[in-house]
């Protein structure tokens, strides 16, 4: 539903487009899942958000205290901090369609 509103509103769309996307990827160690998740995320961002995204990778092995803040249980987890609202996707992001839905990115964009 939100997707539709955003699409109908050109001003909202442009604002969204102008904003830098802040994404956090929570991983634990350099496991195959972590690496796959990072690669998948980067691929999606490159194709849909080129030049206006920022991915922060947080390794919970080094900073376990950060897990509490974003309510991380599963790893890998991507949290979209900006634009609001906060959205969460868990998994290695192999299913691109679901990632796009999860990040609220229109696949046609």
């Amino acid at each position: 539903m939100k997707t539709k509103t955003v699409n109908r509103h050109p001003s909202a769309k442009s604002r969204q487009a102008a904003q830098i996307w802040q994404l956090r990827l929570y991983i634990i160690g350099r496991t195959s899942k972590s690496l796959a998740a990072f690669a998948n995320l980067k691929k999606i961002c490159e194709s849909h958000l080129k030049g206006r995204y920022l991915i922060t990778v947080i390794d919970l092995l080094k900073q376990p205290q950060l897990a509490k803040g974003d309510q991380i249980l599963a790893v890998p987890t991507v949290v979209r901090r900006l634009p609001k609202p906060v959205r969460t996707i868990i998994g290695n992001l192999s299913d691109t369609a679901r990632v796009l839905v999860g990040l609220d990115l229109c696949p046609t964009d």
Binding site: I28, K68, Q71, A74, T77, G91, N92, S94, V99, G102
Partner: protein, 584 residues
């Protein structure tokens, strides 16, 4: 540390005391140390509370810090909830004794894409454990995860890994879970946690709700298998029995006077045994409360502490009523020797009553406890619950060498003995009060039905209540049966009259004999005087004869002289008539 301890205990499972009243007794020392325990039950059973108390007591009493991972309630809510039980969770968190981590996942906010695991949970938990060196972990309620995470297969394998991981960490964990319809838990968590499973239950029977706790499983240890009632009081959870059910209390030889000397006399002359349980049964109005109050006053005046549980009258009412028969309880209350505790039996369930009583007893440390009446308490639960409660109460009191007096109300028309069969076997002494109707009046009688371990009187006594107190008197027993009250007095008067009549008769007889004796004596006197007068007469005649002979002799001599007769005749006559000799 874990390893060395288990070696020291020679294979016995090391245990982690919960500090929860009663739970450690049932489990034989606590939950299995270093292993997870599953606590399951329906909504409102007290799962979270049990888990929270386990943590708080661990931190406060056993210096074992703990982590509470809450999936349902927020930190703030938890703090507020347990604060009502007197647990200062906030303070413990600040002193780094407890870490609370609220895990919150909204399924609608989460999109799943590809493989994942729950390592994040492990990291969070691991971080929390390490930050304070936690020994105890509570996961409340894990099942929320089943609703939050879409992939159940991943969740199940991760949970299995989590419990393994908790064991490896060596923390004692409590995991709470919702009770399922057919299995112990809704999502079958019992498959993963197999060391110890505790089921909580909240049931309503006869409109009274009771919480129960049962240890379904405790691998490698003996445990109580029964369903134990427990309750949530002002200071947390209390599982009953608080004392073990073993029969091993010491028995005192000391005696305790009843305050009624004649009753003491009936009980081997010295009263009840100290630390024994005494049952006082009677129909309404037979004076049960009065005897109890008298017992209380006597004990308190000796300087002993007496705790009086009243389930029918308020303390003021008892004090006022007892005043009318000359018992002064108020000064004893003021001196702190006598304490009343009044509550309506229907106020709460049996367990709550029991726990309240235990608490009062533990606090006041009485020498004598009076429960007036036990029957109204027993009616607030089922028969078996009631008996169980009395058993536990008596056990608890006996363990503390407290003399207990239970009054029991027998309804009119009920057979006295049968109605108390549930309780009587638990009691050491049983005194029965009864109404005795006859001659248009009711009188109270009393007898000792049993008194274990002492020679006691088999007599029925009449029991009198006056404004000077209580007295026990002999009932009149005669050919017409047992007589009490005015009949006894009348019988007494009758006997007195009979004795008086006898006395009068004897006196009369005595007088008669006396009279006869005087008559006899008088007759003897008459006879004697007759005899004496006759004797006198006889002498007089004899004298007359003598004189006549002498005169005759002299005359004969004179005539002989005149006729000149022999001299010899004169001499013989003179010798025969000598008047000096008197017959006596």
């Amino acid at each position: 540390m874990n390893g060395t301890k288990s070696i020291l205990q020679l294979g016995r499972l090391p245990k982690c005391p919960t500090g929860i009243q009663g739970l450690d007794e049932i489990t034989g020392g606590g939950l299995p140390r270093g292993r997870p325990t599953l606590v399951c039950g329906g909504a409102g059973c007290g799962k979270t509370l049990l888990a929270a108390e386990f943590l708080v007591r661990g931190a406060v009493q056993f210096n074992e810090p703990g982590v509470l991972m809450a999936f349902e309630e927020t930190e703030k809510e938890l703090k507020a909830n347990v604060a009502s039980l007197g647990f200062d969770l906030d303070g413990l968190v600040q002193r780094k004794k407890i870490v609370i981590d609220h895990v919150h996942i909204e399924r609608s906010e989460i999109q799943e894409s590809g493989e994942y695991d729950l390592e994040g949970l492990f990291v969070r938990l691991g971080h929390a454990i390490e930050s304070i060196g936690a020994k105890r972990v509570v996961l409340d309620t894990m099942e929320v995860l089943f609703a939050s995470l879409p992939n159940e297969a991943i969740l199940r394998s991760e949970l299995r890994r989590l419990f393994r991981w908790l064991k490896d960490k060596g923390v004692t964990a409590v995991i709470t879970a919702e009770r399922g319809r057919e299995s112990l838990t809704r999502n079958g968590l019992e498959e993963y946690v197999s060391d110890c499973v505790i089921v909580l239950d909240h049931r309503v029977s006869d409109q009274i709700a009771t919480r129960h706790l049962r240890i379904v499983k405790y691998r490698g240890a003996l445990h109580g298998t029964n369903e134990f009632p427990f309750l949530i009081g002002d200071d947390g959870i209390g599982v009953l029995p608080i004392t073990s059910l073993a029969l091993n209390h010491t028995a005192s030889n000391g005696r305790i006077a009843t305050g009624i000397p004649r009753l003491d006399a009936m009980l081997g002359g010295k009263g009840f045994f100290r630390g024994s349980s005494i049952l006082l049964t009677g129909t309404p109005g037979t004076g049960k409360t009065i005897i109890s109050a008298n017992f209380a006053q006597t004990a308190a005046r000796r300087g002993e502490r007496v705790l009086f549980f009243s389930f029918e009258e308020s303390p003021d009412q008892i004090i006022r009523n007892m005043h009318s028969i000359g018992l002064r309880l108020e000064p004893l209350v003021k001196r702190g020797l006598l304490r009343f505790h009044s509550a309506r039996p229907s106020l709460y369930g049996l367990e709550m009553h029991l726990a309240t009583m235990f608490k009062e007893i533990a606090e006041f440390k009485p020498h004598v406890v009076i429960i007036d009446p036990i029957t109204s308490l027993m009616h607030s639960g089922t028969d078996s619950e009631g008996k169980g409660m009395v058993t536990r109460l008596i056990d608890y009191l006996k363990a503390g060498q407290v003399t207990s007096l239970f009054t029991s109300l027998t309804q009119g028309g009920q057979a006295l003995q049968t109605s108390e069969s549930a309780m009587s076997s638990l009691m050491d002494a049983w005194v029965l009060l009864q109404d005795f109707e006859g001659n248009g009046e009711r009188n109270r009688i009393l007898y000792v039905l049993k008194a274990r371990g002492m020679a006691h009187s088999n007599q029925i006594r009449e029991f009198l209540i006056s404004d000077r107190g209580i007295d026990v008197v002999d009932a009149y027993i005669g050919p017409s049966g047992v007589l009490t009250g005015s009949a006894r007095v009348a019988q007494g008067a009758l006997e007195k009259a009979a004795v008086l009549a006898g006395q009068q008769e004897a006196a009369q007889l005595k007088r008669e004999v006396g009279r006869k004796r005087t008559a006899l004596e008088r007759q003897i006197g008459v006879l004697r005087s007759d005899y004496e007068s006759e004797a006198l007469e006889l002498r007089r005649i004899a004298e007359q004869v003598g004189t006549r002979t002498f005169v005759l002799g002299t005359e004969r001599a004179a005539s002989g002289l005149l006729r000149q007769a022999d001299v010899t005749v004169e001499a013989v006559t003179r010798g025969k008539t000598k008047p000096e000799r008197k017959p006596r």
